[in-house]
Symmetry: C2
Subunit: 234 residues, 2 copies
DNA sequence: ACCTGATCTTGACGGCGTCAAGATTCTCCT
DNA sequence: AGGAGAATCTTGACGCCGTCAAGATCAGGT
């Protein structure tokens, strides 16, 4: 226990939100630090931790509250119900997915290898964060479009794939791309379907990548996504 | 109440398992008709009904028992726990998926259109049975390989896709198929990933097929799966 | 005819999501 | 400065859930 000069403080924070409190903080940022200190973010974080540690089905609202060190009903002051909390956790998943795609895609010159890098990023994120990935696409959140932050984060990820597909279609030229050049929606759908299906199947079935000649996830991902660009057999 | 000569029988069955009882029935078929008359099958049926009517998350073991007209703990004499019942429902899903693929694939001559028909069957099954599809691949069943009947049914579906892919690779010839000719695993993975991802995305997001120039599910499915055979842009 | 085991029931326990009511603490206006 | 009012958090309770324990009912082989 590090000594604290502010009396009995059972919820020891990283001692950051301690000095700057009265300094004309823009009041647009509503959730500042009331009793707990941004409990909303702490709950999302605790939920993400539980979901990866114990699995999606072991995620209970009471458990999240317990992990965050508050009472069972405290989350109801920040989320309408359990599903709203799950939606927020899923939104962080989409943001991290976009970040992973940006990380692996940046600095790659050609549109074709860049598209492959995004696909690999997608599969890698799914296998490294299976709990949140299942939350993002699984049935635990019924109406995903009902949560604006989740919708926005997922659309952002979709746009990244869409732009990479469009760039690829442009690179191969309009005579090769056919009618997809000015309407890359269907091609985007195919690309997303491929990586999404691969990620889902890897997570849900126990596919060992060695069984099909791919030593690791990244190689398997590159192998499968190459089919999309070249067609079966090539 | 139809008159019955065998005393008080509260669970009236379709009066089939009534006459042929002592006729050297092979006792390998264990679950014959004790008190209820194949309650196990009735529970699976009731569960499938609930899952399609009210969604995966609304499926409770007590609710299934209620729907079947028995007490809450009656299912425990036929299934180890809730997950075991879900696994059995999911297994019927895989069997119906295989049947749909067989129905749409039979009578199609060329390997390429046959492969496309299987893909369409996959997507159509998923969109017509979203509840069971989510059960088959969602996180509600934790260790799917732990249930032999589920594993067998899913492997059977996998084999159908695999054979169609192998036939297609053979049809286009070894020089086009490259190294995949004698190892169609990776190509099967790609094909399954594509249709599975498409089905999942259609179910979980509210994709309207008109937004991408496909009037209905079947056309969208045919459009997307054509990318697999031809490659992006063509 | 009885016994063994399979089948189904009632009753109970702890955990869950959620509502209601009260206590505490922060913000903001005068 | 100080008090009103809102935001935050707590305790307690309700009904539903999955599951266990113990008893009742019934089928079929000996």
């Amino acid at each position: 226990m590090t000594p604290s000069r502010s009396g009995a403080n059972f919820f020891l924070m990283p001692e950051k939100p301690q000095a700057k409190r009265k300094l004309k903080a823009p009041k647009t940022a509503k959730q500042r630090a009331y009793h707990h200190g941004d409990l909303k973010a702490a709950l999302v974080e605790a939920g993400a931790r539980i979901v990866e540690r114990d699995g999606v089905m072991a995620l209970s609202l009471r458990g999240v509250a317990r992990e965050a060190g508050v009472s069972q009903t405290a989350p109801y002051h920040h989320f309408a119900d359990k599903e709203a909390l799950l939606a927020e956790i899923a939104a962080t998943g989409f943001r991290d997915l976009s970040a992973e795609m940006a990380r692996r895609g940046s600095g790659i010159a050609g549109a074709s290898p860049r598209l492959g890098a995004l696909g690999t990023a997608y599969v890698v994120f799914a296998t490294e964060n299976p709990g949140r990935f299942r939350l993002m696409f699984g049935p635990l959140i019924g109406e995903k479009a009902a949560y604006p932050t989740l919708l926005e984060a997922s659309l952002s990820s979709y746009q990244m794939i869409r732009e990479a597909v469009a760039a690829y279609l442009e690179e191969i030229g309009p005579e090769e791309a056919g009618g997809d050049a000015e309407n890359p929606e269907a091609a985007t759908m195919a690309a997303w379907s491929l990586v999404h299906g691969l990620a889902t199947l890897i997570n849900d079935r126990g596919f060992d990548s060695e069984a099909m000649g791919a030593p690791d996830i990244e190689t398997l991902s590159a192998l499968v996504t190459s089919y999309l660009r070249n067609g079966l057999g090539r």
